[in-house]
């Protein structure tokens, strides 16, 4: 994975597969503690302890189309390369929470990448799922909640290209507000 937003897109797909109706993605940049934390939580069907213990094993997957499953393995590898770690809490019927911690200033920490595009891709392709994205940086906190967006849009679909473009810019602008050091271009967002 080239950047952290791709990991988020990937892990959130697991939540979609687990029939989640609400996915919460939280990013917390903490320069004082030198940590970069990403939490992805869902209310999907969850996993038993046996499965949960094996999910970061690249040779374990519940898929039948192939024999490997490397999404969480790659996330763990990337986190550990920066001196961080991931932990996964899951309960059958309740949901799953994947928390990954990276060392903020570690040279091996991938950049965040196009997070606004990632969030929009997720919400536009899965209109029946609600998503809350919160991002905390040194200048404050930004919260993007599809329930608010859907209420404002009424019967208009989020997947409409003009709306997508608008939301994309909206997220980017808000992220620049909370972290002015970052360039506006989402692809270079670190």
């Amino acid at each position: 994975m080239k950047d952290l937003s791709m990991h988020i897109l990937d892990i959130a797909q697991n939540s979609i597969t687990a029939d989640a109706s609400l996915i919460q993605i939280a990013i917390h940049e903490d320069m004082e503690k030198n940590s970069y934390e990403i939490v992805i939580a869902d209310d999907g069907k969850g996993m038993t302890k046996e499965i949960c213990d094996r999910v970061t094993d690249p040779y374990f997957t519940t898929r039948t189309t192939r024999k490997v499953g490397i999404g969480l393995s790659l996330l763990r590898q990337n986190a550990e390369q920066t001196g961080g770690h991931i932990d996964i809490h899951s309960e059958p019927g309740k949901g799953t929470k994947v928390r990954s911690i990276f060392t903020y200033d570690h040279i091996d920490r991938p950049a965040l990448g196009d997070i606004s595009g990632t969030i929009i891709t997720l919400v536009a392709a899965n209109p029946e799922i609600d998503l809350i994205y919160t991002h905390t940086a040194q200048n404050g906190k930004y919260c993007f909640d599809t329930r608010e967006i859907k209420a404002a849009l009424e019967d208009m679909k989020i997947s409409n290209p003009k709306i997508r473009q608008y939301l994309h810019e909206m997220i980017e602008e808000n992220l620049t507000e909370i972290n002015p050091d970052q360039p506006v271009d989402g692809s270079k967002y670190i």
């Binding site: 999404g71 003009k162 709306i163």
Partner: protein, 131 residues
């Protein structure tokens, strides 16, 4: 930089888009629309499936093609990612492999618009090593 975009602005934007969308015929029957499914599992994402999906969404809109672009899981063709499955109305789905923006453009122009088959199709008879 101007004022940060808000939900109120979004509502205004919605009205604007809505007035335009009504001009184009709205179809609620997916079987009458072109369906584009982009494979977006770990393998697809790592190969750039998100850019391909964005490309399809924007280009199909620009070229006035009524289509639904969604995502799907891994179809088992990890070696050929990014892969997209195109279903034209009344036809069997066709899977294209190694799709970049150039290929995506060709798919739109040749297959979606004219129904002509092009290189890069993963045949349905393809068997994995186990079969």
């Amino acid at each position: 930089m101007g004022k940060v975009k808000s939900l109120d602005d979004l509502k205004k934007m919605k009205e604007e888009v809505q007035s335009r969308i009504n001009l184009r015929e709205k179809s609620d029957h997916p079987e009458n629309q072109v369906q584009v499914k982009v494979a977006m599992a770990t393998c697809g994402i790592a190969s750039g499936a998100k850019e391909i999906m964005d490309y399809f969404i924007n280009e199909l809109d620009k070229r006035n093609i009524d289509a639904i672009v969604t995502q799907t899981g891994c179809m088992g063709y990890c070696y050929a990612e990014p892969t997209v499955e195109i279903t034209l109305p009344g036809k069997e789905p066709v899977v294209f492999g190694y799709v970049d923006t150039k290929k995506a453009d060709e798919i739109i122009e040749e297959y979606i618009k004219k129904g002509e088959l092009i290189d890069g199709i993963i045949p349905v008879t393809y068997k994995t090593i186990d079969e």
